[in-house]
């Protein structure tokens, strides 16, 4: 509210000259961005605190699992080799980082869905291939598994 009146004054006095009008608009955008950043930082700090409280109350088994969850990753060399063998050209490091990251998220989605299936069928881990296949079938129906192999019929 205070900011808006300030902007209003700035805009009103700047109507005479184009350059000052641009500066006022630019200032407005800068202020908005700064406010959003501060709000986001506060939300992040809250989340970090909550995570710390949660992790400090983990049992040993939970700590083990959490450590595996955070630490496990695909080896960058293998991913780079795989992508380069598909493209035939070299790829940048950022591509490898992005690809390993989303692959891990993808693996997580499959495993979580398979655990849901396992629980729904009244069975226990370890996950069996039938759970994995059912999980893939469900994810496919939700469009979360990319598939560009369907048969295109040109003339029917």
């Amino acid at each position: 509210q205070q900011v808006n009146s300030q902007e209003g004054l700035e805009l009103a006095s700047a109507e005479t000259e184009d350059s000052t009008l641009q500066t006022a608009a630019a200032k407005k955008i800068k202020i908005e961005i700064k406010e959003k950043k501060e709000k986001k930082q506060k939300v992040d700090e809250d989340e970090i605190q909550k995570m710390q409280i949660l992790v400090s109350s983990f049992s040993e088994e939970q700590l083990n699992r959490y450590e595996m969850y955070r630490r496990s990753a695909f080896p960058k060399a293998a991913i780079k080799r795989l992508v380069q063998s598909i493209t035939g050209t070299s790829v940048s490091q950022n591509v490898v980082i992005a690809m390993s990251g989303i692959s891990k998220v993808f693996a997580g989605e499959v495993v979580e869905e398979a655990l849901d299936v396992c629980e729904k069928w009244g069975e226990l881990p370890p996950l069996q291939p039938k759970h994995m296949r059912e999980a893939v079938r469900r994810l496919k129906s939700r469009g979360q598994i990319p598939n560009s192999k369907y048969k295109k019929i040109t003339f029917h």
């Binding site: 595996m68 598909i86 493209t87 591509v95 495993v111 996950l127 291939p129 759970h131 560009s148």
Partner: protein, 169 residues
Amino acid sequence: AGRVWPEPGGACDAAGRSWAWCRTTRWRRPQPRRDRGRKCGAAASMADEEEDPPFEEDTEEAGGGPDGGQGKRKRLFSKELRCMMYGFGDDQNPYTESVDILEDLVIEFITEMTHKAMSIGRQGRVQVEDIVFLIRKDPRKFARVKDLLTMNEELKRARKAFDEANYGS
């Protein structure tokens, strides 16, 4: 010894065994019986599932299966995927068959993404912008990629600042 180059146009050797792919070129090498890794107890019951272990081992030497050689490929991510599955909620010792299925899924995912990325933006190349574009509809993956790339930038900046500080002293 052991490395034999294929005849031009030949797909199999005299015994009907197909060529094993190495990374850069085709050459045949004697295939040892594949070590199946830890089977964690219930292996006997797992054999009933669709994939028959003896069949899978044979595909390494016999003609390629319909799935385009994925049965032949050496397992790339076995160790890492085991840890990952445990981290995501599976048992501490996941079944090898499940790990294999997940590895095939991940490789198929990466292949699909790469092909799609090659077809948009700059053709024939994979760039980060293309990946981000493809992922835009999936909130989890999009957020993850953004986090990873920003963290990488911060780390690079920090390392650079650290090196410059050291250079002065």
